[in-house]
């Protein structure tokens, strides 16, 4: 009994401590903060350090050379091409993803038999390891044994024994890379939009229907405006995932044909790791940062502005 009193006093004091916002807040946010500092902050600062040195894979602790790597990178035509490609791939795939995800989400918001199986199949690309899935796509776009070519030949759209050479032609290779990105990001955006759709109050849509609003009117004047904050989040995540991804390009084209599908992240890998030029690789990867920061701020502000309170 003598022991129980102090323990209960300590517990009660602790409870009071946790009830204080100034204590509980930082405590709850600490794991996330630690995670960001250790796994994002430290590598980011290390990348800044590397980008201003002549570090190589054989000699990662080298001399300070200022902005020389950045100047070298900007002068390179391969970098400029990769920068352009990064935007082309990200914007094209995100436009396609959002349109297709909206259609899918609308379809999935209705009840029908086998909906669970359809949902499972739609989610599969998201849960499959990207490198493994891309190897599957590598066969789909294979120069000789492409199943797409086989279908086109069977449909009479391609002469017998002819091939499209999907990964051998710059325009088709770009389409291939965008297709894989869309395939991969579609489930994520669909689930987010589906969640957004279910949160729209039913009575608003019912009221609109009673007032005589048709499907398209309800879609463009009620559903999409109410979904805009959710769509913004889907775009934000999709943009960041696509912008920073190198697995699709690495496995599918390795940046080819002749660097026409090279993106910043794959170029940073080839230059920095495979080529051994760590400083230049870090400089290339840092070009992603201001762009992503700008995109993130823009989308989050947009989301806040359109939020329905």
């Amino acid at each position: 009994m003598a022991l129980a009193e102090p323990i209960s006093a300590v517990l009660s004091k602790g409870r009071h401590l946790f009830e204080r916002e100034r204590v509980l807040g930082p405590l709850l946010i600490a794991p996330a903060f630690l995670y960001i500092v250790l796994l994002v902050g430290f590598p980011f600062i290390f990348a800044i350090y590397l980008s201003m040195t002549d570090a190589t894979t054989g000699n990662p602790y080298a001399s300070f050379i200022g902005l020389q790597n950045f100047i070298e990178v900007v002068q390179s035509p391969v970098f400029r091409r990769a920068l352009k490609n990064t935007f082309v791939f990200t914007i094209s795939s995100q436009v396609l993803v959002i349109v297709l995800a909206k259609i899918l989400a609308l379809a999935l918001s209705k009840n029908f038999r086998g909906k669970g199986i359809v949902l499972f199949l739609i989610l599969l690309p998201w849960v499959a390891p990207i490198s493994l899935a891309t190897i599957g796509w590598l066969w789909i776009f294979h120069a000789r044994f492409s199943i797409i070519d086989w279908i086109l030949r069977a449909a009479g759209l391609l002469p017998p024994n002819a091939n499209m050479f999907w990964l051998g032609r710059p325009d088709l290779a770009m389409i291939a890379v965008i297709t894989v990105h869309v395939w991969r990001m579609l489930p994520f955006s669909t689930v987010i939009l589906l969640a957004g759709l279910t949160s729209i109050p039913r009575d608003i849509l019912d009221q609109a229907e009673v007032d005589g609003a048709g499907f398209w009117r309800r879609l463009f004047q009620i559903t999409i405006p109410l979904l805009l904050p959710v769509i913004s989040v889907a775009i934000l995540f999709g943009t960041i995932f696509t912008f920073t991804d190198m697995a699709v390009v690495y496995v599918l084209t390795r940046g080819g044909p002749f660097d026409t599908t090279q993106v910043l992240s794959s170029l940073a890998f080839f230059k920095g790791i495979v080529g051994g030029n760590l400083g230049v690789g870090a400089a290339i990867s840092l070009f992603l940062f201001p762009v992503l920061l700008f995109v993130a701020v823009l989308i989050l502000r947009l989301a806040r502005r359109v939020e329905v309170v």
């Binding site: 002549d54 190589t56 894979t57 054989g58 000699n59 990662p60 602790y61 080298a62 070298e72 002068q75 390179s76 035509p77 391969v78 120069a143 000789r144 024994n161 091939n163 050479f165 999907w166 990964l167 051998g168 032609r169 710059p170 290779a173 084209t253 390795r254 940046g255 080819g256 044909p257 002749f258 660097d259 890998f269 080839f270 230059k271 790791i273 495979v274 080529g275 051994g276 030029n277 760590l278 230049v280």
Partner: protein, 520 residues
């Protein structure tokens, strides 16, 4: 009851036991815990006597029986004989440079690299600061001076020795000859169709011009030429072989960039124009999506008529033929046997205006990390020495790891220590090749690869395979230059200027690191 459970017993003399008090028990446990905590410091001698663990990383060989021999015969038996636990891991060849780069940074930090010995397939000159160059030199000296299996051929020395620092950044155990493979049946038909002032020999191409002329007809027959113009290793090798045969290169002997400097500039432009013509007349768009497996896939599928490759195409065709014969197929009618019989290799690399120069298909180079662990480094050195000595089937059989490296790789791995297996033994195998015979094929079909010692040059020839060449090679500057011209995106002059500017930036950087010579 609880008291009883806590009682422990101690033996005071034989057959006599007494109970241990709680205090005594805690003492015993405390001493035990302390001993466990300080164990690593108290029992260093015992720890030192534990077997060394040697972790080896290498590629998945294109001749699978080699991996079978390495993993199941050589490595475990060598380990048992030398008291070393050998752990072998295989990865795809394209993944090796990135893994080695990541491990190099761990070595630089003083951390465990993950592997102790890595076999790379192109000269890893950029890793020089993190590898044990003394260990490499000692392995080479042991093999050349004491074991007398040299010479260490010039191709290997140029691929592993840095003349600027005067250090060996690797030890090459093998090179893989890279002849032209052609379909003899299709070639004969195409050669017959080539008319006009220039004729083509019916027994396969001797020059690059023959490849173009016959290739034009082969493409019309539906079996185009398949030489990669993509960002992968085979393309890197093929285009350099072509450039060398045109008398041009990335650098000179002193590591100065010469690709765009007269008279090499015009030669490079001529080579670019030739490849454009070759693509337009004899190839197909699939060459821009070429991978390391495309040569084999396309040739064995009967789609292409010409490829530049190691003997793995022949070996795979022969393996398929041997299976067909085992199934009881008629050799004169079996498509697999016919394909094997019609798969031929050229005696030498095709000649260009400046001579017949080729490269190696891959350059096997082992590196030992500068980990500071003497026992592991010594084990790695001995492992390499014995692996190279095992080329000789008699040495390998005596040591218990027969049939040895040369036979296990089916003559794919060619020795860079030229007498690791004598010429007589090499030719004895190649002129009476058991793999060819099992496939119903000519038993001396591959005997001509022996000439590769005369025509195979290193990446970066006539200079050394240095760190700048390594980066130029791994970032595919040469394939991109040729591909852009072949597709008509750039003129030869523009593509060359762009590539040369990129190369100079790379050279400048590595010169500043003190790893590459030259000034221009």
């Amino acid at each position: 009851m609880k008291e009883k459970e806590e009682v422990r017993w101690v033996q005071v003399s034989e057959g006599k036991w007494r109970r241990l008090t709680r205090r005594e028990f805690l003492k015993v446990v405390g001493v035990g815990a302390a001993a466990a905590g300080f164990g690593p410091f108290m029992f260093t001698e015992k720890t030192a006597a534990q077997p060394v663990r040697l972790r080896v990383l290498l590629w998945r060989h294109f001749v699978p029986p080699y991996d079978e021999w390495f993993d199941k015969v050589f490595a475990p038996r060598w380990g048992a004989k030398n008291g070393v636990q050998v752990v072998v891991e295989h990865v795809g060849l394209a993944d090796l440079p990135a893994i080695a780069a990541a491990e190099a940074s761990r070595v630089a930090r003083g951390a465990d690299p993950g592997h102790d010995l890595i076999q790379l397939l192109s000269p890893p000159a950029a890793l020089e600061p993190q590898v044990d160059t003394d260990a490499h030199r000692e392995v080479i000296e042991e093999l050349v001076n004491n074991k007398k299996v040299g010479p260490y051929i010039p191709l290997a020395r140029a691929s592993t020795y840095n003349p600027v620092t005067k250090k060996y950044f690797g030890v090459s155990d093998n090179f893989v000859p890279d002849p032209i493979h052609y379909r003899a049946d299709l070639w004969r038909r195409a050669a017959f169709r080539v008319t006009g002032p220039e004729r083509v020999p019916s027994k396969g191409p001797v020059t690059w011009e023959h490849v173009r002329l016959a290739g034009r007809e082969l493409k019309k027959l539906g079996n185009p030429v398949g030489l990669g113009l993509s960002q992968e290793i085979d393309t890197n090798m093929f285009l350099r072989a072509l450039m060398y045969s045109w008398g041009t290169s990335e650098q000179d002997e002193g590591s100065n960039v010469i690709i765009d400097v007269p008279p090499y500039r015009q030669r490079t432009i001529d080579a670019l124009k030739f490849v454009k013509a070759l693509y337009e007349e004899a190839m197909f768009p699939g060459v821009f999506a070429w991978t390391a497996a495309s040569n084999n896939e396309e040739f064995l599928a009967g789609r292409i008529s010409i490829a530049m490759n190691a003997i793995s195409i022949t070996r795979t065709a022969q393996a398929l033929a041997a299976e067909a014969l085992k199934r009881g197929e008629d050799p004169d009618r079996s498509p697999a046997v016919q394909l094997a019989r019609n798969t031929e290799i050229t005696e030498r690399a095709p000649a260009g205006p400046s001579g017949a120069r080729g490269l190696e298909h891959v350059m096997g180079v082992y590196i030992i990390w500068k980990s500071g662990n003497r026992r592991v480094i010594d084990a790695a050195k001995q492992f390499l020495v014995d692996l190279i000595l095992s080329y000789d089937p008699d040495v390998a059989t005596r040591a218990g790891w027969g049939p040895g490296k040369f036979h296990a790789s089916q003559a794919y791995d060619y020795p860079t220590f030229q007498n690791a297996i004598s010429k007589a033994k090499r030719l004895a195998y190649l002129t009476n090749d058991p793999v060819s015979k099992a496939a119903g094929d000519r038993p001396d079909k591959l005997a001509t690869i022996e000439t590769a010692y005369e025509w195979a040059y290193n990446v970066g020839w006539p200079g050394p395979s240095n760190a700048a060449i390594d980066e130029v090679f791994n970032t595919f500057i040469i394939p991109v230059m040729f591909a852009r011209v072949a597709q008509g995106i750039d003129t030869p002059e523009r593509a060359l200027d762009s590539a040369a500017a990129e190369m100079r930036r790379i050279y400048q950087k590595w010169r500043a690191q003190g790893l590459v010579g030259g000034r221009r």
